[in-house]
């Protein structure tokens, strides 16, 4: 899988350095470069676009205010950002779970797919079952799958973001993919997942 190199590493390092010194243009450049990927990651974890955007913005407020704390020797900038976003997503989910009524929790229904995601999937001729099955995975497994596929990270980076070793990250991703495969097979979704051309 291709990982998403932001820009040339030298440019990124320069933006980070300038951003740490308070250069607003460099902060804006970093924001525009990474904001969409942080929103996508948060959307995969929270299943709500408004929440995902809020978490992504919080992530950037923290990250851009603390650029001096980023250590390029420890992790890639994107991994650092995703780690911050992941932690905020967990907090957001917990707060939402606390607000949910006990009956809603017991019902255990399939989570609804956000309209924006549904539209984006339909545009590509994809159905929403995979998204719903992804949301139904347990939290550690879903985090690993979302980081790997929506975050387009390597196992090493997934492990760094989750705070586990790459082998554990890989094993969680495998578990997740297997669970998704089973869920889709049980739903008889296989024929629906055949490729169809996106409408022009």
């Amino acid at each position: 899988m291709r990982t998403e190199p932001a820009k040339d590493d030298a440019w990124l390092a320069e933006w980070i350095e300038r951003g740490a010194r308070g250069d607003e243009a460099a902060c804006a450049a970093l924001f525009h470069e990474f904001y969409p990927s942080v929103v996508r990651l948060s959307l995969g974890l929270l299943n709500d676009l408004a929440d995902a955007e809020e978490v992504a913005q919080d992530t950037f407020v923290y990250a851009l205010s603390n650029l001096g704390r980023y250590d390029a020797r420890r992790s890639a900038f994107r991994t650092w950002l995703f780690t911050i976003a992941l932690s905020r997503c967990r907090n957001k989910r917990r707060r939402k779970l606390l607000l949910q009524g006990p009956l809603e929790l017991l019902a255990g229904e399939m989570p609804a797919t956000p309209r924006e995601v549904e539209t984006a999937l339909e545009r590509r001729g994809l159905r929403r079952q995979l998204w719903q099955a992804l949301q139904a995975l347990s939290e550690p497994v879903r985090e690993a799958v979302v980081l790997r596929y929506l975050g387009e990270m390597r196992y090493k980076e997934v492990g760094a973001a989750l705070g586990c070793n790459p082998k554990t990250a890989e094993s969680r991703v495998r578990l997740g993919v297997e669970a998704l495969r089973r869920a889709l097979t049980e739903q008889g979704a296989a024929p629906e997942w055949q490729w169809s051309e996106a409408p022009a």
Binding site: F31, G44, F60, A120, Y149
Partner: protein
């Protein structure tokens, strides 16, 4: 359905999400505004230490604490020192005798009778 197909579908979902419109300019404006806001200073450490100091003063002022903390108060609660005299004799020391210098004077309650009002 095979595992590889699921992985491929996940990659396609990721690609589909990239086409989702996001208002990143408006988001940047919000982030920039939040970054420019003065940082919230944590006031709880100051409040906690002030409360602790106040509590310490309140507790230290109750009499049992003052007895231990204030030497003058403790001294006031102690019995007055009494000088005891003993004299060496060839047969040993005499029994202790309270010296007249520090012996407490006997309490006297012989109050003079109040004169009666005339005619009573």
């Amino acid at each position: 359905m095979r595992r590889r197909e699921v992985e491929s579908q996940l990659e396609q979902v990721a690609a589909a999400l990239k086409t989702m419109p996001l208002s990143s300019e408006a988001a940047w404006d919000r982030v920039r505004a939040q970054m420019k806001m003065p940082r919230q200073v944590n006031r709880w450490p100051l409040a906690l230490s002030m409360s602790l100091v106040a509590a310490t003063f309140i507790v230290a002022n109750v009499v049992p604490m003052r007895y231990h903390l204030a030497p003058t108060l403790r001294a006031a609660y102690l019995p007055a020192p009494v000088l005891v005299e003993r004299t060496p004799t060839p047969l040993g020391w005499t029994a202790p005798v309270v010296s007249g210098a520090t012996a407490a004077p006997p309490l006297r309650f012989d109050v003079a009778p109040v004169p009666r009002p005339p005619g009573s």
